[in-house]
């Protein structure tokens, strides 16, 4: 209770500062409008279809990219992880490709797809894929040797082994990967919209900036922040819900 109050106090102080600092001309009002103006601009744009369309576009690119990356990475991770020869052979390639920043692909994406949604989708899928893949590989590698040998002695079928042994062990890692990927995917979605000009909130920010509409620009930035918070909170809830059965909430495997 006390904690929640203190937290609310922190938010309130931030808002008051955002209002007072420009009003008292500590910072040029042209660069940082008072919070009330940002809120007003947000209210104005909430009445336009353009804003909601942009929000929907952003969510669509984000969701589609995240799901594609998650499915592909989980499938690839389970396949690679369960064959040790494959695991060894691909390790160096994965370690090489993973640190390549997805933004390096921006020029290529622009050439291939222009400002279409696919251009941003490439970035989102590329960056989220590795987050999930690495976690799933760690998960498959974490299978208890005794349980594995037991399953083998009992001659579990391949399918049973995958469903009863590999999947439950991997799930906590996969969910962690999903949570990390969800926020990375949002960052790359907004980035793509901002730089490439794919429709969405990021493009609204870029347009507002170039047309000097500073208060709306801040308003959209605040919306992306709130979106980020929502994604984080939902991902954590999902994690708790999916892993209800898990004896302990595992420590995140260092990604």
């Amino acid at each position: 209770m006390r904690k929640a109050l203190l937290g609310l106090g922190g938010v309130a102080v931030l808002l008051v500062l955002l209002e007072l600092v420009p009003r008292t001309s500590l910072v040029d009002e042209r660069y940082l409008p008072p919070f009330s103006e940002m809120a007003g601009a947000l209210g104005d744009s909430a009445n336009t279809g353009e804003f909601w369309q942009a929000l929907a576009d952003t969510l669509q690119t984000w969701g589609l990219g995240l799901v594609l990356a998650f499915v592909a990475a989980t499938a690839a991770g389970m396949a690679i992880g369960s064959v040790s020869a494959l695991r060894e052979a691909t390790a160096s390639t994965i370690e090489f490709l993973r640190p390549i920043p997805a933004v390096a692909l921006i020029p290529l994406a622009v050439l291939l797809y222009g400002t279409g949604m696919e251009a941003t989708l490439i970035l989102v899928v590329y960056s989220s894929f590795w987050q999930v893949l690495v976690q799933v590989l760690a998960g498959v590698g974490d299978i208890d040797p005794v349980a594995r040998d037991t399953a083998r002695s009992f001659r579990f079928r391949r399918r049973t082994r995958a469903l009863r042994l590999a999947w439950p062990t991997t799930l906590p890692y996969a969910v962690t990967g999903f949570r990390l990927a969800a926020s990375v995917a949002l960052i790359l979605t907004i980035t793509g919209e901002l730089i490439i000009g794919t429709p969405g909130l990021g493009r609204l920010i870029a347009v507002a900036q170039t047309s000097g509409a500073i208060a709306p620009m801040y308003a959209f930035v605040i919306v992306t922040g709130l979106l980020g918070v929502t994604v984080n909170v939902l991902a954590r809830l999902l994690e708790r819900r999916v892993l209800r059965w898990h004896p302990s909430v595992r420590e995140e495997a260092a990604a």
């Binding site: 938010v11 691909t90 390096a104 020029p107 290529l108 050439l111 926020s183 920010i205 922040g225």
Partner: protein
């Protein structure tokens, strides 16, 4: 190659003998095998790329041979000094500043529970803002020069370090903290040997996340507005439809990312050597 040392080449056998006095031939075989595992797939992929792109007529995917022959003239005639080094300099400045700031504030906030409760929602919000949107905002205040780019990197990379440091400081073993107090360790000693040490695994995790964010922001801030830098060059090539040159830029950026992650891993291995040892001991030494 490995056929020279064929008798000992069975992988299982090689591994077992590794513990005992190992005949040189077996060791060679082991190294040979590791090398093959390490480079096998990359070599195959590169060969496939080479062969497929050699015949393809697709404008966007020029032959790998063209890309490689464009690499030298593109980068070694002055661009390393004119573009790559400024980028790396800004990255280093922004990243190190972000880590220092994040750890300092994180220790401060993590030490006082009330301060933490007060600041946490605000910090979570700032962390959740996708860092690239800070570029247009900071351009207003700072224009488009080097300072803006460094501040952009700091503004995005500081949050994971900060929040992880807070978590790390909070998670330090209570008895350990009390013991340090009972023994009247001086504040600075306590900070160094108890607080920072104890929080270092989390700090390193945060620093790793921060590094990839910092690289992204280095590139993006240059794509937005710049007159030099790696991101700037790549976009220039793309706008001029200089496809092989653009690809060399992408590859160079990939190599930079790879090199930085290797450096990070080396630093991590040193900083966290004590931690890995402890973990292994706790797991009962089953390798």
């Amino acid at each position: 190659m490995t056929s020279l040392t064929a008798p000992a080449a069975a992988p299982g056998a090689a591994r077992e003998t590794a513990c005992e006095a190992e005949p040189p031939a077996a060791r060679l075989a082991r190294y040979g095998r590791r090398l093959a595992v390490l480079l096998g797939l990359p070599a195959v992929l590169a060969a496939v790329w080479w062969i497929v792109s050699e015949r393809a007529e697709n404008f966007f995917f020029p032959p790998l041979s063209d890309i490689l022959s464009a690499f030298g003239p593109t980068w070694f005639d002055g661009r390393i000094a004119a573009d790559l080094l400024p980028s790396l300099g800004r990255l280093a400045a922004g990243y190190l500043l972000a880590v220092a700031l994040g750890v300092a504030l994180g220790v401060l906030i993590g030490t006082w529970p009330s301060l933490r409760a007060f600041a946490e929602p605000v910090l979570e919000f700032f962390r959740a803002i996708p860092p690239p949107v800070m570029v247009p905002i900071l351009m207003l205040f700072l224009g488009i020069d080097t300072l803006m780019k460094v501040v952009v990197i700091v503004s995005g990379a500081v949050w994971p370090v900060l929040l992880n440091t807070v978590e790390g400081v909070r998670g330090i073993d209570r008895p350990l903290r009390d013991t340090a107090r009972v023994y009247r360790l001086r504040p600075l000693t306590r900070l160094r040997t108890v607080v920072l040490r104890g929080a270092s695994p989390q700090i390193v995790t945060g620093a790793r996340q921060a590094l990839s964010i910092a690289i992204v922001l280095m590139v993006i801030s240059e794509m937005f507005a710049a007159n030099n830098g790696l991101g700037f060059s790549i976009v220039q090539f793309q706008r001029g439809f200089a496809l092989p040159e653009m690809w060399t830029g992408i590859i160079l950026l990939g190599l930079v990312g790879l090199a930085l992650s290797l450096i990070f891993r080396a630093v991590e291995a040193t900083v966290l050597a004590w931690y890995r040892g402890q973990r292994r001991a706790q797991r009962g030494g089953n390798r």
